[in-house]
């Protein structure tokens, strides 16, 4: 089918969808870039003069930018750490023969189906509220001072909530990988004198390496833009303690009505995301080839 004519026909037939997709991406992107060079504030309608890099300058030098960068890194890193390690542990546990296996497996996946806003609200009001939450009640019941999660450890609390949402995803992918491990390999390692720890380290973990990189890649892409969980729990606070880049952009453009500044932040976020993506692709490309 790879004749010249068929290739030309193929190109012509996929062109509408390619053009549509490209337009879909290019138009908002160019508008964002365009706005980022304008003084464009909805509160002070003084026309929209071209101001060059000014928006970028103010966005980057704002102290909350540095805080947002660090928070973004901590969020993504922390959640990746918890979900991959937790995912491996859950995958190992789910692989064990046990009673009610099918039901347990479905239950483990369940949190993934809960909407981010809903799960964040449930955690905030039913679990982590110092007065009415279960954790607070438990602490008071045992005579301890209840922890005010979103006041004292806000970032950690959000990391915990988002990890809870993403753990099932990591578990699912890793568990599938786990099941494709040849049992004879494990038996051979057992005959070769490998203890359980060595079998995990030398056989299971290398086998899971590929799945782990896939989990990291996909999660990173989504975790760079965590928003709903922050909005419904802490609103980025206290102060800027839980403001990540996405939230900072939201604050500038929709709370301070500064469209130019928000767009500049958006462009920076796009560049950062691409750097991360290239970096990850390299890493994963290496891992997938092997």
């Amino acid at each position: 089918m790879a004749t010249k004519a068929s290739r030309a026909a193929a190109r012509m037939m996929i062109s509408p969808s390619v053009i549509l997709l490209l337009g879909w991406m290019i138009i908002p992107l160019s508008l964002t870039i365009y706005f980022s060079f304008l003084r464009y504030n909805l509160i002070t309608p003084t026309g929209n003069p071209f101001v060059g890099w000014e928006n970028y300058y103010w966005f980057v030098t704002d102290p909350s930018f540095k805080a947002a960068m660090i928070n973004t890194l901590l969020l993504v890193g922390g959640i990746l750490l918890i979900t991959t390690i937790g995912g491996v542990i859950f995958a190992l546990l789910l692989d064990l023969p046990m009673f009610g296996q099918g039901v347990i497996r479905i239950m483990v996946i369940a949190p993934f189906f809960v909407m981010p806003t809903v799960s964040a609200l449930v955690w905030k009001n039913m679990f982590m509220n110092p007065v009415n939450g279960i954790f607070g009640r438990l602490a008071t019941g045992m005579g301890f001072e209840p922890v005010d999660f979103f006041g004292q450890i806000p970032l950690l609390s959000i990391i915990f909530i988002v990890s809870w949402q993403w753990l099932p995803f990591a578990t699912l992918i890793l568990f599938t990988a786990m099941q494709s491990l040849d049992q004879e390999q494990l038996e051979a390692a057992e005959m070769d004198g490998a203890s359980w720890r060595n079998r995990f380290w030398f056989i299971i973990l290398p086998h899971l390496a590929r799945a782990i990189t896939v989990v990291i890649l996909i999660e990173t892409i989504f975790l760079l833009s965590i928003f709903a969980e922050i909005l419904v729990t802490t609103n980025g606070g206290p102060g800027t303690a839980t403001t990540n880049l996405t939230y900072l952009i939201y604050v500038s453009s929709l709370l301070q009505f500064d469209v130019g500044m928000g767009s500049a932040g958006g462009v920076i976020a796009i560049i950062l995301a691409n750097i991360v993506a290239i970096f990850l692709m390299r890493m994963i490309g290496k891992n997938l080839d092997a």
């Binding site: 040849d182 004879e184 390999q185 038996e187 051979a188 390692a189 057992e190 005959m191 070769d192 004198g193 490998a194 203890s195 060595n198 030398f202 056989i203 290398p206 086998h207 390496a209 092997a290």
Partner: protein, 334 residues
């Protein structure tokens, strides 16, 4: 040393008894082949010896000591799996060195042993490749290499050649036999191929549904099969069985004659029939003789030069001293 004894060993998976209690002795240095049809429990028996499966009852003794509760790694046995079970992310060198590394051996000694094994198995050029970059035969040799570096008391092979093509299989068969002669270590070898069993074994164990039907040297099994199952399983092409009227003169419920122990003639003989399919191998020809009234078809082996065609009427005569007689329960009558 590698003397292995099974005493009243049985195995059940839940309700299903796969291996009823059985006894078996394997002497040090012996090449023992477990042979039997698919699903008869050969692999299970091997895994019981290896310790990968717990016995339901009975004892496994290795060199006279009870090994029933000893974990697989401590039994001093090495196993070669049907799928080879190489570690895909490790090079050939690391694969072979893995058991030594697990035993905490120092690196110099490890390298020396890996090098030795590679020399023996012609793997020197492939040491830095990954298993995926090897052919089936090479992978097989790596799996064997991983087993021999440990200098085990006995080797366990589970159908190691079944994934190889016919020519390679013959070659590896000879290599494994040579390895056995050189090392002099006990080997237990599982196969469902009776040719492998006949050519390699010092002692064959024929299994059916988990029951040992007969234990003996290849020629013993060929000459004096204890029952109809063994008689039919050992030897190729299969032994012909005749029952009813034709067996009466021999005072047996049924008799068996191997294809190579039948004389064929176009003039006269004991049994009359018509040639059906003939298989020409060059040196020999196998004729399937129909319409004898004794069995659906009787196979006979004739010299490659014998010229007979489909539809020809022929007469068959069994060699009188090569007839095997069986009673109503299929057991041999002396």
């Amino acid at each position: 040393m590698g003397r292995i004894q099974l005493e009243q060993v049985s195995k059940s998976f839940g309700e299903l008894q796969v291996i009823p209690p059985l006894d078996l002795e394997i002497e040090d240095g012996e090449f023992v082949v477990f042979v039997g049809p698919s699903g008869c429990g050969k692999s299970t028996l091997l895994r019981l010896i290896a310790g990968l499966e717990d016995v339901t009852s009975g004892q496994v003794l290795i060199d006279g000591t009870d090994a029933t509760d000893i974990p697989p790694a401590k039994r001093g046995l090495a196993m070669v799996f049907q799928s080879y079970a190489l570690y895909p992310h490790m090079s050939v060198r690391k694969n072979i060195a893995f058991p030594l590394r697990m035993a905490g051996m120092d690196e110099a000694e490890r390298d020396r042993r890996v090098q030795n094994a590679a020399d023996v198995l012609n793997l020197t050029d492939y040491l830095d490749r990954k298993p995926a970059q090897l052919s089936g035969g090479q992978r097989q040799r790596v799996a064997i290499g991983r087993a021999i570096v440990r200098e085990p008391a006995a080797f366990l092979f589970d159908e190691p050649l079944s994934n190889l093509d016919a020519a390679l299989r013959v070659g590896m068969r000879i290599e494994i036999s040579e390895l056995h002669q050189r090392l002099g270590t006990t080997m237990i070898y599982v196969t469902h191929d009776q040719v492998e069993a006949m050519t390699m074994a010092d002692k064959i164990v024929v299994l059916q549904s988990g029951v040992i039907e007969q234990v003996g040297s290849p020629l013993e099994l060929y000459r004096r099969p204890q029952n109809r199952f063994v008689a039919g399983f050992i030897g190729s092409p299969k032994m012909n069985f005749v029952s009813g009227e034709a067996a009466k003169p021999y005072a047996a419920e049924s008799i068996g004659v191997r294809p190579e122990h039948l004389q064929i003639s176009s003039a006269e003989g004991a049994w009359k029939g018509v040639i059906g399919v003939s298989e020409h191998l060059g040196s020999d020809t196998f004729f399937h003789v129909l319409e004898t009234g004794l069995a659906e078809s009787i196979t006979i082996r004739a010299d490659g030069e014998v010229a007979l065609n489909r539809g020809d009427t022929v007469y068959l005569t069994p060699e009188p001293d090569k007839i095997h007689r069986f009673d109503a329960r299929g057991r041999r009558i002396e």
